[in-house]
Symmetry: C2
Subunit: 329 residues, 2 copies
């Protein structure tokens, strides 16, 4: 394993400390666990909490800040945070308006966030959660019942975060989060694996001429393996799979071309060159495009495509100003 780290045991802690030190006026790390909150605690508005295993940087701590999350709770790499860690996060940001947790659909995350929400209720905190399941690749997976939650999650953070910032109540923030979830779809692929530090070796192997289609953000198997094809062929395959699930024709969308961690921007832009034209030809209007590393799998090489169908409310919330490490507007 060749990594720029100090030791395996301190990866998550030192990473989160280093992230907070990149914006010490904006972010604060709780003493208890790898939990990041806004330096200025919000008052009188719904607070948003998200999280999951580490290894998806900049998700989720990179989305903590004005207009998005109030708190990100990170577990160890590719492992859900514990219920008490999530509870600590909830308690650190809860307001009288309540807390909405945004959870990616993995069995461990669902179980632990659900338990934390119940524990918060026992302490008198109004907390609810939504489950993001945007990955159209597989119906069930190694780690999920139902579809996995992947890069579309950050659009839930953005849009529900903006709604909370407007002062909407918990019911309205949860409703708009569920609207995003209903309208966002993602599919990904990889040409090279990543190595979980504690494992010390790649999570899977691909031959020099092979790729995995429909892969998850922990390197879970996708729909199938096949010979490496051209960027356009791969991108078409992913888009077609997404469009088979939701027909985005005639709609206005946000497009994310998301790098898995080690994919150079050169390749992501080549993918965008095809996807932009291919969607446009089908009568889909691209309202905005994001190209970069937004929801990664450590240093996996590959990309995912995310499409979100917009309505006027989502568009205006998408455009609202946000200030976090990883959101670029």
């Amino acid at each position: 394993m060749k990594k720029i780290i100090n030791d395996v045991a301190s990866v998550e802690e030192q990473m989160i400390q280093g992230l907070v030190k990149a914006a010490p006026d904006m972010l604060r790390k709780l003493e208890y666990g790898t939990i990041v909150v806004r330096a200025q605690r919000k008052q009188g508005q719904v607070a948003l909490v998200s999280g999951g295993g580490s290894g998806h940087e900049p998700a989720h701590a990179g989305y903590v800040g004005k207009g998005m999350l109030d708190c990100a709770v990170a577990g160890t790499v590719f492992t859900s945070p514990t219920p008490d860690q999530v509870l600590e996060g909830i308690k650190a940001v809860a307001t009288d308006q309540g807390v909405l947790c945004v959870v990616k659909n993995y069995t461990g995350d669902i179980m632990n966030f659900e338990m934390a929400v119940e524990m918060a209720a026992d302490e008198g905190i109004k907390a609810e959660y939504v489950v993001v399941n945007d990955d159209v690749a597989v119906k069930d997976s190694l780690y999920t019942t139902g579809r996995r939650g992947v890069a579309g999650t950050i659009l839930v953070h953005k849009i529900a975060g903006a709604k909370a910032e407007e002062g909407a109540d918990l019911k309205a923030v949860k409703e708009v989060a569920e609207k995003v979830i209903a309208n966002v779809r993602t599919m990904g692929m990889a040409i090279a694996p990543c190595t979980v530090p504690a494992a010390g070796k790649p999570g899977f192997e691909l031959a020099e001429d092979e790729m995995e289609i429909g892969i998850g953000i922990h390197g879970e198997p996708g729909t199938h393996r096949e010979k490496l094809a051209s960027a356009d062929t791969i991108a078409k395959m992913l888009v077609d799979h997404i469009l088979a699930d939701i027909d985005y024709k005639g709609q206005e969308i946000v497009l994310i071309v998301n790098g898995m961690g080690a994919t150079p921007l050169m390749e992501l832009y080549i993918v965008n060159n095809f996807v932009h034209d291919y969607l446009t030809k089908q009568g889909i209007t691209i309202y905005d495009t994001m190209v970069g590393n937004y929801m990664t799998s450590i240093e996996m090489a590959g990309f995912s495509l995310t499409l979100l169908r917009l309505d006027d409310e989502m568009k205006s919330l998408y455009d609202a100003k946000a200030h976090t490490l990883a959101w670029k507007k």
Copy 2:
């Protein structure tokens, strides 16, 4: 070679097209070559032109937009654009206030930008250039006389770009660019090479337990190779080398922890965790920190550290609003 591309010959063209399609309201590609300009041409202010070989994405086209560059001229991967390509770029954005070219110190770039500036002068365009040479690793290199220009270049774009946007004249914009150059230093390292598409194989090889210290952004040799060390040990080595060149003690700085393309954010934040504390302990005040992929070498794995000593003028220009694909403020 395992890459997500279509064919080697179209990499640069399709990449630049895909980049422009990520922000079609903001950017435009010239017909002639891989040259990106602002969609709205600036009037009555100094125009900024930069560029160099492709393969350093988001540099330089990712820095075209309000408050930074007016034009980025890209050559093929790791190869300077030709003088006539640079001239096309200059002509496409030139104003009556003139043009400042920001050139990284490589023999080919200097030669071609210098020639383009002379050709522009023949056509009645007031054009000048500055040379960025922030890399403290080696005095001369395979491709340079004197120090190489690397990630510090984007701070020249930012600060000189803001100065131009204020309406300063060519002399003043050039002076502030030279002030940044005088105060910015960088050093980098790599644990894994990149592959130039046209070459089809990695530019160099490193053993599983080896790293290259002082490497350039084309994989040029650095100061030496040694056994892979801990993140903190590597970061200290780079910082000490930089501080030996400029004593930043007691100063206020901008810090860039720059990924080389395939380095996960996890590792960059672990590096920042050390560097932040190490600089602070030496009485250096970190005014702002940027962590991410700003000046890359395709999919090389490694990072560089950049320190810029600020004064009040540079600080205010650094803070000025900019709107480009890759600048995050």
